[in-house]
Symmetry: C2
C-alpha cells in the first residue's frame, strides 16, 4: 500500500485539508511538494498524474485521485485510524453541508482575495508574455481566466468586494455554529472542521478586524481547540507559515470602519 500526495507548499486551503486528513488518520505518505510560483502543477510530468493541473492529487496504489472533498471522504473510508465522519447520520449530513460551503462559497472567496494579492509576486523575472504563455496551458478554463486576471490585476473590484462580503458572512456563520455545538458537524471533530480550519483559519491572522476574540469569541475558541490537535501541530511544523502580505484586510469602506472599531476597542 503506497500513498503519495502532491501538494502546494506552503500548505494552504485545498492542499492543507488533504494533508491534515492524512495526518489525522495516521496514514504514512510520500510527499511531493509543488511550487505554484514555479508553475510545477503545469509541468508535463505532473499533468500525467493529474491532467486537471490542480493540487492536491493523491495517488493510492497507482490510482490518482483529485478534488479535496472527494479525496477526504475516500481517505476516511479507505484507511484505519480515528473516524473523521460522525457516526450519527444527521451530523454526517451537516458535515457535508459545511464541507460544501467551505469549498464552494467561503473557500472560493478567500482564494480569490488571496490570489489577487499573492499571484503578482509570482511573476519573478518573467515578462507578462512569458506568464501568459504558461497560463495558456492551464487545462481548466475558469482557473486559467482567474489566474490571468490576477496576474494582470484585472479582476473587477466589484468581484473582489463580493468575495470580501462572502468572507464576512462566513465568519458570522462560523461564529453562530461554534456557539451552538462543540464542532461544526456536531459532537465530534470531523472533515468539516478540517476544511473550515484550513479554509478559514488564516482569517484570524490576515483579517483580524473581522475575526477576533471580541467579535467572534466562539469561532476563536474553536480555532484554538483545533490548533491544539497533535496532527495540526505536526502539519505546522512541516510547512512554512504564510505571512499576510501588505494590504491584508477585508477591503473597502467596511474594512476601514471595522479597523477603526477594533482600534477603538484596543
Amino acid at each position: 500500500m503506497t500513498v503519495e500526495l502532491y501538494y502546494f507548499q506552503p500548505l494552504g486551503t485545498n492542499s492543507g485539508r488533504v494533508y491534515l486528513t492524512l495526518l489525522e488518520k495516521g496514514v504514512p505518505f510520500v510527499e511531493h511538494e509543488l511550487s505554484g510560483r514555479n508553475f510545477d502543477h503545469l509541468r508535463p510530468e505532473y499533468l500525467k498524474v493529474n491532467p486537471r493541473g490542480q493540487a492536491p492529487a493523491m495517488v493510492h496504489d497507482g490510482h490518482a485521485l483529485y478534488e479535496g472533498m472527494a479525496i477526504n471522504e475516500y481517505i476516511d473510508e479507505s484507511f484505519e485510524g480515528p473516524p473523521l465522519r460522525p457516526a450519527d447520520l444527521r451530523e454526517r449530513w451537516r458535515m457535508r453541508v459545511w464541507c460544501r460551503y467551505a469549498e464552494n462559497d467561503l473557500g472560493r472567496a478567500l482564494m480569490m482575495i488571496n490570489w489577487n494579492r499573492v499571484v503578482p509576486n509570482f511573476m519573478g523575472g518573467r515578462s507578462m508574455e512569458e506568464v501568459e504563455k504558461v497560463l495558456e496551458t492551464v487545462p481548466d478554463v475558469d482557473r486559467r481566466r482567474s489566474w490571468l486576471a490576477a496576474f494582470k490585476q484585472q479582476t473587477p473590484p466589484e468581484a473582489i468586494e463580493e468575495s470580501h462580503r462572502r468572507t464576512r458572512a462566513g465568519v458570522q456563520k462560523l461564529e453562530a455554529a461554534c456557539r451552538e455545538r462543540p464542532y461544526l458537524a456536531g459532537q465530534t471533530y470531523s472533515l468539516a472542521d478540517i476544511d473550515c480550519f484550513n479554509f478559514c483559519g488564516f482569517m484570524a491572522m490576515w483579517m483580524p478586524e473581522i475575526m477576533n476574540d471580541t467579535d467572534t469569541p466562539a469561532a476563536m475558541d474553536w480555532r484554538r481547540k483545533v490548533s491544539d490537535r497533535p496532527a495540526v501541530k505536526e502539519m505546522r511544523s512541516r510547512t512554512p507559515r504564510m505571512q499576510p502580505p501588505a494590504g491584508a484586510g477585508t477591503g473597502g469602506a467596511v474594512e476601514a470602519s471595522a479597523r477603526a472599531q477594533a482600534q477603538a476597542r484596543a
Copy 2:
C-alpha cells in the same frame, strides 16, 4: 418513521434528483408540492421548514435536511433498499466527483439558461414592483440577485453564453464517460447517474443540436438505459413534463451553426 419531501413541481434538476433517489430506494414519503411560479418557497410556513427558501427540503422524523447532494448521501446511508453508492471506494470517489460537477458546474449553467427563459413567464399578472417586493424576501443573496436579473432580463449576454459553453463542454464530458464505462461512477448505477440524468437529461430534448444520436451516441444510450428504470418511469408518471420554451437551443452563433449541421444530416 416519516419522510416528507418539499419539492418544485414540475420536477426538474435539484428537486428531481432527491425525488428519484427516494423512489429508487423504495422509501415511502409524504409529498408537498411547491410552485415556483407562486413563490411557495418564500412563504413563511415553508421558511419554517427550510429557512434558506430553497427546494428540495426533506423532513425525516421531524428534522429538516436541505442541499440535494448531502440529502442523497443521507438517504442512501439511512434507508434500506438497493445501494446507490458503489461498494468499490474508487468508484465511490468518482461518483462524488461527478455529483459535484453536476451540481456546481453543469447544473448551474443549465439552471441559469433555464431561469432566464422561464422566469419571465412567472410574472403572471404582477407588476415588476410586486415581484421585486417578493424577491427581497429571498434569504440567499446570490439566488436573490440571479432571480431578479432573470425577471428583469438583465443577465449579461456574456454570462448566458458562458453557461452555454459549459453546457456544451458538459455534453462532451458525459459522452467521453459513457464510452468508457456502463455508468458514470463505474460498473453500477449510482447517485452520479441520478444527478446527471436529472441535470442533463433534458439537454437531449431541449438542445438536440448538441446532444443527439449522431454526435453523442454513448450519452444517448446511457440516457435511454436510465429512462427505462422503473423508478424513472414512476417519477415521470407523477410529474407533468416540462416543455422546451420558444427559443430553446445552445445560443448564439454556435447554436445556429449546430442547428444547420443537424438539419444537413437529417
